[in-house]
């Protein structure tokens, strides 16, 4: 997992010279495109990469709720859509 590189689109545009061996995998987190240069990344590593591991969150993965116990067995693939939510103030 140490080779996993997470960067955003803005970063990529800034460093166009940056070459990838493979096309990066595009996924969508809360409507934002995120690119990963990795063949295998699970939800647990995604949460760490996004610095969300300290937060109480829930994840919807392509329309399905994934329970916390299944995060490490759920691997991302091209085009996946994730919603990551928290509880906020509301009436």
């Amino acid at each position: 997992m140490s080779q996993i590189l997470l960067y955003d689109i803005g970063y990529r545009n800034k460093f166009k010279f940056f070459n990838y061996k493979n096309n990066p995998m595009k996924i969508y987190v809360n409507g934002q495109q995120k690119n990963f240069e990795a063949t295998e990344i699970c939800l647990t590593s995604l949460i760490e990469k996004l610095a969300l591991n300290e937060k109480k969150i829930a994840i919807e993965y392509n329309g399905e709720i994934i329970s916390k116990s299944n995060f490490s067995q759920t691997f991302l693939k091209e085009g996946d859509k994730l919603e990551i939510v928290i509880a906020v103030g509301g009436g």
């Binding site: 329309g63 928290i86 009436g91």
Partner: protein, 261 residues
């Protein structure tokens, strides 16, 4: 009044005031106001988390501990049954299998008036999935009854528009809903000040849910304390049974005999 407990989805609560956690200046104020209100059930919204933000960012859950309060996740901002259902499934996962939810499906962004057709459809599905659904609805007695019949555990008609503070605009509809209901009826939305909460309780509502009336007061903590008393006072007045109104006929409270001559 210790014995006058209030039952929702099989659980007893002492406070008949339910409060929202939105619109406060900061989490500290949220915490103090809610503590002062005496509320045991607090609503929360479910929203996308910020990505790539401060890891140590404060969280509502740190200030309103789940151990102390019953969380009531809502579907505020949902305009379709599908969005409301998705939101509550996420909420259940987020809150470790918690089933008690507040369903609201809105029909219009200006009035935030509920879309009762979508609400009924969403409620049916959620109840089938094991949720205990407290449902925000219009003050239409027929819809209120239908929502009860499909299994909602509390009916929550508006008193006036969400966040408007216009008070109880149609007390008679609320009375019809209360008379017909076998589940708790909780006024949700529209209360602006303590007297509105008293009126709702005197009508026989089982509780009142409010957010803006407290959070948007000049002094939210003091208003929270006022609302606690208003709810208790209105409830006691309802249970005590008010005197009959006598129109245009006074009745002295002091003896009419024994006056000095």
């Amino acid at each position: 009044m210790e014995s006058d407990k209030f039952l929702i989805a099989g659980k007893h609560y002492s406070s008949r005031l339910l409060v929202g956690t939105g619109k406060y200046k900061d989490f500290k104020e949220t915490q103090t106001a809610i503590s002062e209100s005496g509320a045991e059930i607090v609503t929360v919204a479910i929203r996308r988390t910020n990505i790539g933000q401060n890891i140590k960012e404060e969280s509502l859950l740190d200030f309103i501990p789940k151990k102390k309060y019953t969380y009531l996740p809502n579907t505020a901002g949902c305009y379709t049954k599908d969005d409301a259902i998705r939101t509550l499934r996420l909420a259940r996962e987020l809150l470790d299998g918690h089933n008690l939810v507040k369903l609201e499906v809105l029909g219009d962004p200006n009035t935030l008036y509920p879309d009762v057709v979508e609400t009924v459809e969403a409620a049916k599905i959620l109840i089938k999935e094991g949720f205990d659904v407290m449902v925000y609805t219009s003050d239409d007695p027929i819809i209120a009854k239908q929502l009860e019949d499909i299994g909602c555990c509390a009916i929550m008609p508006l008193a006036s528009l969400i966040g408007s503070g216009m008070g109880i605009l149609n007390p008679h509809n609320l009375e019809i809903i209360i008379d017909n209901a076998k589940v708790p009826v909780i006024v949700d939305a529209g209360v602006g000040t303590a007297s509105d909460a008293v009126i709702a309780m005197e009508l026989g509502c089982d509780g009142v849910l409010m957010n803006t009336a407290i959070a948007a007061a000049d002094n939210p903590v003091l208003m929270a304390a006022a609302m606690k008393k208003a709810i208790e006072s209105g409830r006691e007045a309802f249970l005590a049974g008010r005197m009959k109104k006598k129109f245009y006929q006074a009745d002295p409270s002091s003896p009419t005999s024994g006056l000095i001559k």
